[in-house]
Amino acid sequence: MTDPVVQRPVAAPDAPPATDGAAPLGEPVFRLRGVSVAYGGTPAVKDIDLDVHASRITALIGPSGCGKSTVLRCLNRMNDLVLDARVAGQVLYHGQDIYASHVDPVEVRKLVGMVFQKPNPFPKSIYDNIAFGPRVLGMKGDMDEIVERALRRAALWDEVKDRLKQSAYGMSGGQQQRLCIARALATNPDVILMDEPCSALDPISTARIEDLLLELRRSYAIVIVTHNMQQAARVSDRTAFFTVDLDEGERHRTGRIVEFDATEKIFQNPADPRTEAYVTGKVG
């Protein structure tokens, strides 16, 4: 196998700083500069500048249709699956442009895991759900160990260790979502993207996922899209507030970042009145 063109720095993720959000930010894992995405010529988001740091949870908030998910899907090139999607600007992963012509999106996705809005376990056993990623990536080592480690990291092991061979469809929604997180962890990614991971879950399952996020923050850069502002305030270190602009005679709705800063600042002392109106619930 040839060396992948996109590589993570050698140290990560085995020796991550256990910062809990306190240490200085350091070099970003992802650096977005002037990113615009258009679907079939219609712009969806414009001029996005965003930094994603290791050991931090970065939340993307804003009203529906503001392009939060679109930006998230730039980070693992899932937008490539949408016909006629065009990404302009720079998406740098540890300084490497993941949209450069020689980069295979498959290599990007090996380093950047993703959890979707609706739990989407494979129609297979719990064990096979976890083992799928390591198998297709050709990971070496004892598969039983890899599966156990991933399930333990996702705080799911004790609940499922006696029924690993049973279908994942027999689990509750919250368990399925934690299985999907475990599945993403199993391939040892550097970054985890989460697209409204709790929107289909009840408050108790949501709380468990949030606890898990705070635990995982030690080892990964996490980007989470959420509609739930309390969730952003509870779990994230940095928050980007998006808004929708009506362009060109209100024919296009284009998303932009209004403000990107430490979460406390966004929620307690926002610089932009639009941010304040949104986070205090006056609009949206």
Partner: protein, 291 residues
């Protein structure tokens, strides 16, 4: 009438609802009863000859001695070979059309439209095609098992493609996205997630398509009309007959004894069909439980 009252359903609405239900039930009953009547009359007529002779004897000009052994084996050979040819081709075409083809391209839409149309072409037309290209002309295979299987493959391929496409389309996109997001290639996603999830639907569709092939006489009569074969096929280049042709032949004889024999052979054909459909149902249930 005040706004807060729940209006009772009118007598007329109830009557219409009941009539609608009854007419649906009658539609169902007509189909089922016709089938039962058909099977019963076949069983009664063929009963005297429904014994192991029909299974193990070869055709003979003496109706007392004649059996359908060579036709049964011929059917198994031809339909088995048809399955081997159509299932990989049909699934492959379906995967291409569902997972790779860009529907904005006119040639892909043309292929789709063509497959839809081919599924509706009368089987006799495929017989003519088989005669011209497989038996004589281009391939010159003669009146062989292989030529028959190729002809029947043309006949059922569109059905296999269409049912496989439906099975593949029924696999939710979230499964594909989940696999791709883990760093799987498109090929790995299709081979390890999409196809296994689509197996129950594809198996059911393929077996139902083969059930059509097993009952076809017209295209094979056209290929060679071999009806008096007193040996079993031994290879792809063997001469052959199949059950529908044998039945057709016996029914067209003047002697009543052959008609009884034909009824018995029809019963055998029906048993084969029911067995194949049972396998389809079994496969579907087995894989669904695994989920």
């Amino acid at each position: 009438m005040s706004a807060t009252q729940i209006a009772p359903t009118s007598q007329r609405e109830r009557l219409l609802g009941g009539l609608f239900r009854a007419s649906l039930f009658v539609s169902l009953a007509i189909g089922i009863l016709t089938l039962c009547w058909l099977m019963l009359s076949i069983l009664i007529e063929g009963w005297p000859r429904l014994n192991q002779d029909v299974l193990f004897h070869f055709p003979s000009s003496n109706p007392e001695l004649a059996g359908a052994q060579s036709a049964i084996m011929g059917t198994i050979w031809v339909v088995g070979l048809t399955a081997l040819i159509t299932i990989p081709l049909g699934v492959g075409a379906a995967v291409y059309l569902e997972e790779y083809a860009d529907r904005d391209r006119w040639w892909n839409r043309l292929i789709e439209l063509n497959i839809q149309n081919l599924a509706a072409v009368p089987s006799i037309v495929y017989g003519i095609l088989g005669l011209a290209f497989f038996v004589r002309g281009f391939l010159g295979l003669g009146q062989t098992v292989l030529a028959a299987a190729l002809t029947l493959s043309l006949l059922v391929l569109p059905i296999v493609i269409i049912s496989s496409r439906e099975a593949i389309r029924a696999v939710p996109d979230s499964i594909r996205q989940g696999a791709l997001a883990l760093g799987a290639t498109q090929w790995q996603t299709i081979w390890r997630q999409v196809l296994p999830a689509a197996i129950p639907g594809m198996a059911t569709g393929s077996i139902l398509a083969l059930s059509r092939a097993i009952g076809e006489a017209a295209p094979l009569v056209l290929l060679g009309g071999l009806t008096f074969i007193t040996f079993n096929p031994e290879g792809l280049d063997s001469a052959f007959t199949v059950l529908p042709i044998q039945i057709f032949n016996w029914i067209s004889r003047p002697q009543d004894e052959f008609h009884v024999l034909a009824a018995a052979a029809i019963a055998v054909l029906l048993v084969l069909l029911v067995a194949m459909n049972a396998v389809a149902i079994f496969l579907r249930n087995k894989y669904q439980r695994k989920w």
